[in-house]
Symmetry: C2
Subunit: 281 residues, 2 copies
């Protein structure tokens, strides 16, 4: 082409500006023909540069996989991917990139379910690190995409043991790094109380489930060797005596980014404080 | 080729078994020539199937972008991506896939830094949602990949205001969904105390920083309209009177996945419990 500056809007990839001076390409109206895509991408890049756009977001559905090499060769990098699409970005401003990074953490939950007799619900794994070791451990699992921590821990207990239980409090949070694919891990240790229900083991993952005393749980060598697991057993014992306060779940139903969210905090302490403040004012 | 079953080991992509019955292709010894890669991939798939492998992990550095369409056309899906590589997976077992999902959460921190006069360190944004509104807000920011929550909140305060501060406690955690790229968000609200240092504003992000009274902070319409922000102001006030206990940071230096990790929990409560237990035994 003699003239590199497009005179025809059809040559420009459709999309919309973002709130940060960037541009988001519309992935539903991409030319599927690679040579048309490449021609349009090159025209678009000239236009975006002349408009001083900062960052460009290009989401390519997996059906458009043939376009990926073309975009990379025009300078795009990968940003993140899900099963069925790849997000690419190109930073065209002279200033350092301020593009947000992708998700950095996976989130897991552990369930200390304690019944009226102060017994703890434990499992032996069918697969995984403690398989065949005879270790009785708390049910654990990953929080699914879009799932509340509160719901995740209740679901894991139900799946592994058949027991219905409800979250009392989050007792603590452990952060670890470089756990899988270089990402970090947040583990929410939760206290739950069971609702009337019987043990029914999920056999593909779990070999056995039982209620055992907290003393039997903590005296296992697997636990006594770990200062974290020993600490956890102490926290549960203190909590059962009303001497340890964790974070309860309060539903938020208002405002910016809060709809349908939970705020986990020391509800015991704040309620005592607010009642006392009210009674003295 | 007349014979589809490889007789030559060189035709098989190198790699290693994982602990879950799967296979991880060695991304450092991939044939860079697309037709050689495709031939080897097809031979490898036949072998992996005959060996009853479950899931295949194929990490393609961005330099090998030309191989991406070939892998997708052989049935691979995207799993996750970072700036310089794309991870693809193929589940070849008959059973449902048990491949772990990729990172599901971004993590943010908010800093309520309170000095000896019970004043709170607040900023006005140069960019972002409250720009130009006159709202004084707490410093906030994202936890970087591999960064401890404790370090992240201290870094954000330093970057935005120039003030050195140290974490006292995490006061609460809010989880929200579908925040960016469909991922969830965990926001750790932190209480900090300042170390001797002067305010020095980071001008590209922050328009101004000040110490203001907690009453002036909470009486802003931006805060009184939000039950979350009102609750946070109450939590800080209660904490300053010793009537609210959050989660302090304890370094873990032992055991499985714990090296260099922090366990955030109610250290006040557990220490009181353990001291009392010791003195009565």
């Amino acid at each position: 082409m003699a003239d590199c500056i497009p005179s025809d809007g059809d040559l420009i990839l459709a999309g919309r500006d973002d709130r940060y001076g960037g541009f988001i390409v519309d992935s539903t109206s991409l030319p599927s023909d690679p040579s048309t895509f490449l021609e349009n991408l090159r025209h678009s890049l000239l236009q975006w540069k002349s408009q001083s756009k900062k960052g460009i977001w290009l989401k390519l559905p997996i059906e458009n996989v043939d376009l990926v090499p073309l975009a990379v060769k025009e300078g795009f990098c990968y940003h993140h991917a899900e099963k069925d699409y790849l997000m690419l970005t190109l930073w065209i401003a002279e200033t350092p990139s301020t593009l947000p990074s992708n998700a950095s953490h996976q989130v897991g939950v552990g369930a200390m379910v304690i019944n009226d007799e102060n017994k703890v619900l434990v499992v032996q794994e069918q697969t995984g690190p403690t398989k065949g070791s005879g270790v009785w451990k708390m049910p654990t699992g990953a929080v699914l995409q879009g799932e509340d921590i509160k719901d995740a821990v209740q679901r894991e207990v139900k799946e592994e043991t058949g027991v219905d239980a409800e979250l009392v409090e989050i007792l603590g949070v452990r952060q670890a790094h470089d756990v899988s694919f270089g990402k970090s891990d947040l583990f929410f240790l939760c206290l739950l109380r069971p609702l009337p229900s019987d043990i029914s083991v999920e056999e593909s993952e779990i070999a056995a489930a039982e209620w055992i005393s907290l003393d039997d749980y903590r005296s296992q060598e697997f636990n006594t060797k770990s200062s974290l697991l020993t600490r956890i057993a102490d926290m549960v014992a203190a909590s059962l005596k009303g001497e340890y306060k964790g974070f309860g779940a309060e539903a938020l139903s208002f405002g910016f980014r809060n709809s349908g969210s939970y705020f986990y905090h020391n509800i015991n302490d704040i309620n005592s404080y607010l009642e006392q403040k009210k009674s003295t004012s």
